[in-house]
């Protein structure tokens, strides 16, 4: 059971609004295009290229692991290099590193900055208010959540009316109330306005700069960049579409991405296929209540056709941990006869012998059940209710 506040993030985003998470270096490139100052740098994927980049940039550089997860600093994924030699050595250590199940495939080499002060700035979509929320703090650095908890006064927050937008006076109010140093104020005001413009122009759900630094030369610069984009809006950002690369190292998740199946791996042995995110989540819960352990979340979607059922089953059957399949369909747009036919096709094609428990309800349910009872092999059993189907699947998983 998830206990951390961030615990449900992954499934929530998968079921209720998928997002494209960008790497730091991609975020910084977007920032630069929107007029937000960032240190100059290069992205590389070998130690040798890291050395060459450090030579070109000159002086002290920072070698930063590119992973789409927080905490890389503590994990040793960020290192200062005074020479190209050091840069190469650090890159060698960092490339291939495993940071919270994310393998580092590339590092960003950038000019080191002389930091006078670290701030925090972000624009987020606030789901509760259904508005963008801008946050600013003079207490930037590692753990802004801690600042929010222990010293909320240090975090200035402001919701924005999406129709009239984020205006100069909003930026000023934030800067004064976050306690930004006087010399950095106009730089921060300007960055906040650019950040909001980038947030709306790019259909972003999050743009976070932590730390936003005030440098010895008096500039305000984004030293990190966390950017996520609303997948629903990618059609109007063809350049961002190209950034949408697979970031999972799990074979089933990778296969699901390739086939366009909404899939999340869990650690149980009851493979689950359902239609509609709510029903699938409910199926996981019912399996757990019956004493079993779900192997995955898999939503075949609202209007599942035979092809989609085949693709979904291919993903599930490729997982050696799965001992039994539970197929739970309530047809609205989805038609049960199409699901049944898809199942037969898949079984035929994949030669699956593991036990499969099927529950079919809704549109064309009689036809669907008839197809299975007449044509399906013996390892396929039909149960009349969701609860009984889950119980049967759990029994079978334990029994095998």
């Amino acid at each position: 059971m998830a206990s951390r506040s961030s615990g449900v993030y992954r499934l929530v985003n998968i079921t209720q609004g998928r997002r494209l998470d960008l790497f730091e270096y991609q975020g910084k490139q977007l920032f630069a295009r929107h007029g937000i100052p960032v240190p100059s740098g290069e992205i590389v994927d070998t130690p040798e290229a890291a050395r060459a980049a450090a030579e070109r940039i000159g002086g002290t550089v920072v070698v930063k692991a590119q992973v789409q997860v927080g905490g890389r600093g503590k994990a040793g994924g960020i290192q200062l290099a005074k020479t190209p030699d050091e840069a190469e050595a650090h890159a060698r250590n960092i490339l291939g590193m495993d940071i919270k199940d994310h393998i580092v495939h590339s590092v960003w080499i950038e000019a080191a900055s002389e930091i006078v002060k670290e701030y925090y700035a972000s624009v987020t979509f606030d789901r509760s208010e259904k508005k963008p929320l801008v946050m600013l703090s003079a207490e930037g650095g590692m753990d802004i959540e801690e600042v929010a908890r222990t010293n909320p006064e240090a975090l200035a927050t402001l919701h924005v009316d999406p129709l009239t937008g984020f205006q100069a006076h909003h930026a000023r109010w934030l800067v004064f109330h976050a306690g930004i140093d006087e010399g950095a104020r106009s730089g921060v005001v300007s960055i906040l306005q650019q950040l909001y413009a980038a947030f709306t122009d790019l259909d972003s759900m999050l743009m976070e700069i932590n730390p936003l630094i005030w440098t010895a030369s008096g500039d305000v610069v984004a030293l990190d960049a966390k950017v996520t984009i609303d997948n629903n809006a990618l059609y109007r950002h063809p350049d961002l579409l190209a950034l949408q690369t697979s970031v999972t190292d799990d074979p089933q998740e990778r296969m699901a991405q390739e086939k366009g199946v909404t899939y999340v791996k869990l650690d149980g042995d009851v493979g689950i296929l359902g239609n509609g995110a709510g029903l699938v989540m409910s199926t996981l819960d019912v399996v757990a209540l019956a004493g079993g352990r779900p192997a995955n979340f898999l939503d075949a979607g609202g209007g599942s056709k035979a092809d989609e059922v085949v693709a979904a089953l291919e993903v599930l059957l490729s997982d050696p941990k799965v001992k039994v399949l539970l197929i739970n369909i309530f047809g609205g747009i989805t038609r049960c006869d199409e699901v049944a036919n898809g199942l037969l096709t898949a079984l035929d094609k994949l030669n699956a012998t593991l036990p499969i428990v099927v529950r079919l309800d809704g549109t064309n349910e009689d036809e669907g059940r008839r197809i299975i009872s007449e044509k399906a092999p013996a390892n396929v059993v039909v149960e009349p209710t969701m609860l009984s189907a889950a119980q049967r699947a759990v029994e079978l998983a334990k029994g095998v």
Binding site: M1, S3, S5, S6, G7, V8, Y9, R10, V12, T15, Q16, G17, D21, Q68, G70, K100, S122, T124, D126, R127, S128, K130, K131, M135, D143, I144, E145, A148, P162, D203, M205, L206, E208, N210, D230, N232, A233, Y235, V264, L266, N275, G276, G278, L279, M281, S282, L284, D285, V286, L289, G302, F330, G331, G332, I333, D361, G362, T363, M386, L387
Partner: protein
């Protein structure tokens, strides 16, 4: 007998000549819904199973007096269709379309909340008031007239719970799928308060899931304002912990967004919560018996 859609509904279907639009407009009409018009630009003068098609929403409303719009147009054109529906002056807009960008919806939501029109969805299965009208894509055979008001973020879960209720002989006044998107036009609170004001709704069943804090907000609202009894179901207790980009989201949510957190928030306000669809139907039966 119902909220939002009923015998007085006069429905116009935006995107009626598309595959899904035509299919469901026809089904809704077959259920008895008064489908008065469809809109597809450039196809004025045609009809879909006897439903006249207009070029624009304004024309459709002017000519037929439609008071409710259902949006079936593809996501790239749905934002435009929603604004067109708003400007046409219909009282209620039900948006089935899935995949509308969140930024578009923020603008529409802000704009809409300044007036007094109602939006249900997007990314929702619609509304059914059993025996009166069905607007949307729900499998009508699962629903029976009755005195339970059902509101849900999930489509298929709505059908599942309605089926469980039917097995216990319980029907609904209305069933409202508010949609699963991050920005939807109407929240649990909006619909729960409509059910509370409906003399023909004796019990409210609220079906939530992980993510956001709408269930927690509804719990507060119910405790403070709602006299009709409420039972609830939450899906997603088995949702896996995962990574999070950045910290801004964690700072603002306040509530955890987990199923357990939502269950506890509701129970703290006296709302009983089922942990599976069968159980919530039983809770509903007990609550109705106690009336």
């Amino acid at each position: 007998m119902s909220i939002l859609v009923d015998k007085n509904t006069k429905l116009v279907v935006q995107g009626i000549t598309g595959r899904e639009g035509a299919f469901h407009a026809t089904r809704n009409k077959a259920y008895g819904t008064n489908v008065v018009a469809g809109v597809t630009p450039g196809k004025a003068g045609q009809d879909v199973e006897g439903i006249p098609v207009f070029n624009t929403m304004r024309d459709a409303v002017d000519e037929t007096g439609a008071n409710t719009a259902m949006v079936f147009v593809p996501p790239r054109f749905a934002t435009d269709a929603l604004y067109e529906a708003i400007e046409s002056g219909v009282e209620l807009i039900i948006c089935i379309t899935e995949g509308i960008p969140a930024h578009d919806m923020m603008g529409i939501y802000t704009h809409l909340r300044r007036g007094n029109q109602t939006l249900i969805g997007p990314n929702c299965p619609g509304i059914i008031s059993p025996g009166e009208a069905s607007v949307g894509i729900m499998p009508t055979q699962v629903f029976n007239p009755g005195r339970v008001g059902l509101v849900s973020r999930s489509g298929t879960l709505t059908y599942q719970i309605s089926k469980e209720l039917a097995l216990l002989g319980i029907g609904q006044s209305s069933v409202v799928g508010i949609g699963g998107d991050p920005v939807v036009g109407s929240s649990f609170i909006d619909i729960v308060s409509r059910f509370d004001a409906d003399p023909d709704t004796d019990l409210i069943v609220m079906v939530g899931e992980i993510g956001g804090n709408e269930e927690e907000k509804a719990a507060e609202f119910i405790a403070a304002n709602v006299t009709t009894p409420v039972v609830s179901y939450i899906a997603g207790f088995q949702a896996p912990p995962g990574k999070q980009m950045g910290h801004a989201g964690a700072i603002i949510t306040g509530s955890s967004g987990t199923a357990q957190g939502k269950k506890e928030a509701l129970e703290a306000k006296g709302v009983r919560v089922g942990t599976n669809p069968t159980e919530v139907a039983q809770l509903a039966q007990e609550a109705l018996a106690a009336l």
